[in-house]
């Protein structure tokens, strides 16, 4: 039973990938059965605009990854240069029941990319979270501010060079001679 489903899923993915290559100016790849579009920071907005026009009516997720200390070998298609940060945007087409993920490589200490707000206003908080946690700036965003950390916080906690902090615990009965 599961083999059949897997084969069917593989067919679906291949078909979706073929369609996507034609429609969007992006490199299409497959990751564990999901369709991935690799765009650059310049073509990102064009790619999501094309996807939006193509019926991808909802932005389902937007996040980022900091690949600073990645131990493994990253599998990126030819023509895509690895950057320190990767922005991952997931879109969904409810009519065709398709999902795509758009991955964009970003570099530099304060990378900048266009906001998806004008197409998908639901990106507002997600982009604020990515800014808060990774320091990726979304240009033309209506409210580029921190969302989870306090407004005056310094640093971006989910960056790999941001250390995990700890507060020493003082136990009541513990002796002070140590």
């Amino acid at each position: 039973m599961s083999d059949e489903i897997a084969a069917e899923a593989a067919d679906d993915v291949a078909e979706a990938a073929a369609i996507a290559t034609l429609r969007y100016d992006a490199i299409v790849a497959d990751s564990n059965g999901d369709v991935i579009l690799h765009a650059t920071s310049d073509t990102y907005l064009d790619t999501i605009t094309a996807a939006h026009a193509d019926g991808f009516d909802q932005l389902i997720d937007l996040t980022a990854v900091d690949y600073l200390t990645y131990a493994g070998k990253r599998s990126l298609p030819e023509g895509i240069e690895a950057g320190r940060f990767e922005l991952v945007t997931a879109l969904i087409n409810h009519q065709r029941r398709e999902r795509i993920r758009i991955r964009v490589q970003l570099d530099g200490d304060e990378p900048t990319i266009a906001t998806a707000f004008d197409l998908y206003p639901g990106a507002e908080y997600l982009e604020r979270e990515v800014y808060d946690m990774f320091g990726i700036v979304f240009s033309d965003h209506p409210d580029m501010s921190r969302v989870l950390m306090p407004e005056n916080w310094v640093g971006h906690p989910l960056r790999k060079d941001y250390a995990v902090g700890s507060i020493p615990v003082q136990f009541k009965a513990a002796s002070n001679q140590r």
Binding site: S2, S31, N32, G33, D34, D57, Q58, L59, I60, D61, T63, V65, D66, Y70, A71, G72, K73, S75, V88, A90, H94, R97, R101, F117, D118, Y120, P121, G122, A123, E124, Y125, L126, E129, M133, P142, D143, S145, R146, V147, L148, M149, P150, E151, P157, L158, V164
Partner: protein
């Protein structure tokens, strides 16, 4: 910019309910005509300290929360009010932020479950499930059929307990205080079953990569049947207390209205999206586990108001019971976890017999198992909408990055749009009907 800017006044008078702008366009507004108050703390303080405020301007900035009884924990709303009418608002979140996504990078995949289960504390099994599905996708393993069905049974019971909690808090927020006790009472019955199966009422860490932590206890069928017999008459009582009651309907109908275009544009999922009449349920539309083998209806509303969201959740409890009934009949025999010695610990008896089993047991609990490189996204329909886990593995035994798409976090964005031009008293009904769980919003 100050609140008395003439331009600002003009724009916000032009906005609001009277205009005929397409819903998706309305939520895309950026300026002061938007429903969202985009003011920082500093700007807020500046306005407050401005001595040159126009005396005729009756706009007030009001803070509601973070510790307000109706905000379900620590949600804070910054409201721009004119009299009792809410003009613009801004949900301020982060008071419960504990860096769980950062912490996940330090924990092995086996320990990860204890972390994610604390996010959405009203429906912990769903986060565990999404995390396990994403890990299994990377591992490329398939769990035994019985494990799948146990997961489905536990998740549907969890949906019931989560919605029962909503019934309780929604009732209390709107003045039906006795409902608080009733909802809690029924939820406790479900949690009692969870305690029997997982050992804990909440934060179970029961669904783990590779299957579930333990098989169902003896006599679990009788316990589930007891629940299925107990809850339906109680739901009938809710109908008498709330659903058909004129005061209840007056309080909720036509309050906090959203249409399907707006809900889609705002990335809303779950009961909020379905209340607009948009039938989208991952259990039906992108079946995971064994949902294609059970019969159930996707409940949709038609007006997108608070009443629809209440009614959807009430009826989803009934649908979940329908699913649980079918699971009782169809529960297959077999193993409750995959017998892959690299992923799941060996059975206790094997440890005494085999050196290798002992080594595997030791390895799994000390350094954890290695997960192949790659990235994966897995999502489930939680009681609040699409709950997704995005995992990146660099081939070691801890995730390189774990991101949780929390439905509550994204649904919070709909609040300003639901509240605009409504009364502050209705704001309480709206917060309640969005049903955010702050543990998941802030993570």
């Amino acid at each position: 910019m100050t609140l008395t800017d003439p331009e600002h006044l003009e724009q916000s008078e032009a906005g609001g309910l009277g205009d005929n702008i397409d819903g998706a366009e309305r939520v895309k507004r950026r300026g002061s005509d938007s429903a969202v108050l985009r003011l920082s703390e500093a700007e807020c303080a500046e306005i407050g300290n401005d001595p040159n405020t126009d005396a005729d301007d009756e706009r007030v900035l009001l803070n509601m929360g973070p510790s307000h009884p109706s905000t379900h924990g620590v949600l804070r709303l910054m409201l721009e009010m004119e009299g009792e009418t809410v003009l613009r608002s801004k949900p301020v979140v982060g008071y419960l932020h504990t860096g769980m996504e950062k912490q996940a990078e330090q924990l092995t995949y086996l320990q990860g479950g204890t972390n994610v289960t604390r996010m959405d504390y009203a429906s912990p099994l769903f986060t565990e499930l999404a995390f396990s599905l994403a890990t299994e996708k990377l591992l490329g393993i398939e769990v035994p059929e019985r494990a799948t069905w146990i997961r489905m049974l536990m998740c549907e019971l969890n949906r019931m307990s989560s919605h029962l909690l909503f019934m309780a808090t929604n009732g209390m927020d709107l003045g039906a205080v006795s409902m608080m006790i009733y909802g809690w009472r029924e939820r406790e019955e479900v949690l009692r079953f969870f305690e029997k199966v997982t050992g804990l009422r909440m934060n179970h860490n029961y669904i783990r990569p590779g299957g579930v932590a333990a098989d169902m206890p003896d006599g679990w069928e009788a316990d589930v049947e007891h629940l299925l017999a107990l809850i339906p008459p109680r739901l009938e009582e809710y109908d008498i207390l709330m659903t058909g009651q004129p005061i209840w309907r007056e309080r909720l109908q036509g309050v906090g209205v959203l249409n399907a275009d707006e809900a889609l544009a705002l990335s809303a999922t779950g009961p909020i999206l379905r209340s607009t009449g948009y039938a989208w349920d991952l259990r039906r539309d992108e079946p995971y586990l064994a949902y294609s083998a059970v019969d159930f209806d996707v409940i949709v509303g038609s007006y997108g108001d608070c009443y629809d969201r209440y009614a959807i959740r009430l009826n989803e409890i009934r649908e979940s019971m329908r699913i649980v009934e079918q699971i009782l009949d169809k529960m297959p025999a077999g193993d409750y976890r995959v017998q892959d010695k690299k992923v799941t610990p060996p059975p206790r008896v094997r440890i005494d017999q085999s050196m290798e089993a002992l080594i595997h047991h030791f390895k799994i609990f000390t350094e954890g198992y290695k997960v192949p490189e790659g990235e994966a996204y897995a999502c489930v329909e939680s009681p609040r909408g699409e709950l997704g886990v995005y995992l990146v593995s660099d081939g070691t035994s801890t995730p390189y990055r774990m991101h949780v798409r929390g439905p509550s976090f994204i649904n919070v964005q709909t609040m300003p749009h639901l509240m605009q031009n409504g009364l502050i008293a209705d704001g309480v009904a709206i917060i309640s009907s969005v049903d955010p769980i702050m543990g998941e919003v802030d993570r």
